[in-house]
Subunit: 246 residues, 2 copies
DNA sequence: CGCGCCTTTGAAGGAGCTCAATTTAGGTGG
DNA sequence: CCACCTAAATTGAGCTCCTTCAAAGGCGCG
């Protein structure tokens, strides 16, 4: 396992992040806000932080103070249960917000670990709350983002509760593909940033099963896999796999 | 399946609900608010609605306008996927809030169905947002409730992704027991309001498996089951089941 | 170039599912 | 109040899909 070596707390580097100029603003917190409201956000998000591959944006148990928007790179969040169980709860790409699960207990329940060299915008939550008291559009948007997280967790529950291995992998690939598209990347060709084990953990499967299903998909001509490099050759067929649960 | 007959929209009965006098206020939205803030909530929650067993508090696809606090009774929420899949996403008892997943799309993604004769407080969401702009404590509390929902969905993901059938059932019973306790009921003796099939749907198991595991627990002396009536005889042993995933 | 980690693939085993039959409980109408 | 009817629950037997255990191959990095 990478990322287990002690990571020194980096002094957060004070760089103006300028949501107003960020090309992710349509995917991130500012989406749907007026120019003025985005300016207010700018004033709030003053700190960006780099995380090299394997480093943490935050750790389970850390006091909750901020949300973290992925500005570049790729993260996983890892839930550590009291009984030693350990599961990937999500993968997060540029424009996505991490840390909402920390609000309820004032502690982060999970680790956020960079799967490649990455950068996050640090968003002090109490200042975000302040601002959203004054800007109803921002308030509503924040609520939508939290609600979207609930919805997406529930659809993972559905996946874990009722899908077979092939369906899970198909849904996973289609989800990734769709998120890549939203970011202007190719929907059909990309590099996986995570290992088979991490995919398996997220999908409730063993790494061998993930590997086998990938091979099966490749034999069937749905995808072309070469280690971490994936090309999706037949999106409709992948969709059909999910639909055909007799 | 019960609850499939057409349910006429009940005219919401206008009853002052008075959070300030509700004995669930420590579990529900008002928890942690000052007297004055609770009064403000009172002014907002003017409508209660009765749902007889099988009736809906809201339906998947309905426009999102309000949150629903369970005032009495017991609900399940049921997610209906586009591909005909269908899964119970949660069970909700008195004092718990339903409908947060509707904020993101302005439509409820799931059905909320009463599993016994029940009553809900209808909380107009835009008025709740208004009020929470003026009352920081309420704002923070709302955020905590939403975050708690995220955390609890994630712990279901963990359950579905990494636990075996016995562990899932043990966790399920302990969770129910703990919620009963918080409401002043016996932690060890209660009636299940849902069927084996609904439990199975929630836990990603088939109803036969649920039944078999209950029988096994009974043979082992951990619980006493008689249809829907459950007595938990050995809470530590149930806890141990979850811990012992070799 | 060698080492470690990740991935692939095979074979055997097991947990939970499917199919099926029986029992029990709860609601309804005579 | 009892008989009936339907929905829910229990239990068994065989099967399937995924896991476990094991070994070999490939890629990247020092």
């Amino acid at each position: 396992m990478t990322g287990l070596k002690a990571v020194p707390k980096l002094d957060p580097e004070s760089i103006k992040s300028a949501c107003s100029k960020c090309n992710l603003r349509e995917l991130c917190l500012p989406s749907g806000l007026s120019g003025e409201e985005v300016d207010q956000l700018d004033s709030l998000i003053r700190v960006r932080r780099f995380c090299r591959k394997g480093e943490h944006a935050y750790r389970g148990g850390d006091q909750f103070e901020s949300l973290y928007a992925v500005r570049a790179g790729f993260f996983k969040t890892n839930l550590l249960n009291e009984d030693g169980r350990d599961q990937v709860t999500g993968f997060h790409m540029a424009g996505e917000l991490m840390g909402l699960d920390g609000i309820s207990t004032d502690n982060h329940p999970c680790d956020a670990i960079a799967l490649e060299d990455s950068e996050v915008c640090v968003i002090p939550f109490s200042r975000l709350e302040e601002l959203s008291r004054e800007a109803p559009a921002l308030q509503r948007h924040l609520h939508k983002i939290m609600s979207r997280e609930i919805v997406s967790d529930q659809s993972v529950m559905m996946l874990l509760g009722s899908m077979r291995a092939e369906e899970r992998l198909a849904a996973f690939l289609l989800n990734l593909s769709q998120r890549m598209t939203a970011r202007g990347y190719s929907p059909s060709e990309f590099n996986l940033r995570m290992t088979r084990e991490e995919i398996g953990s997220y999908l409730g499967l063993k790494l061998e099963t993930v590997s086998r299903v990938f091979s099966r998909f490749q034999n069937d001509g749905f995808i072309a896999v070469q280690q971490k490099h994936i090309r999706i050759l037949d999106i409709p067929k992948l969709r059909a796999i999910i639909g055909q649960h007799c």
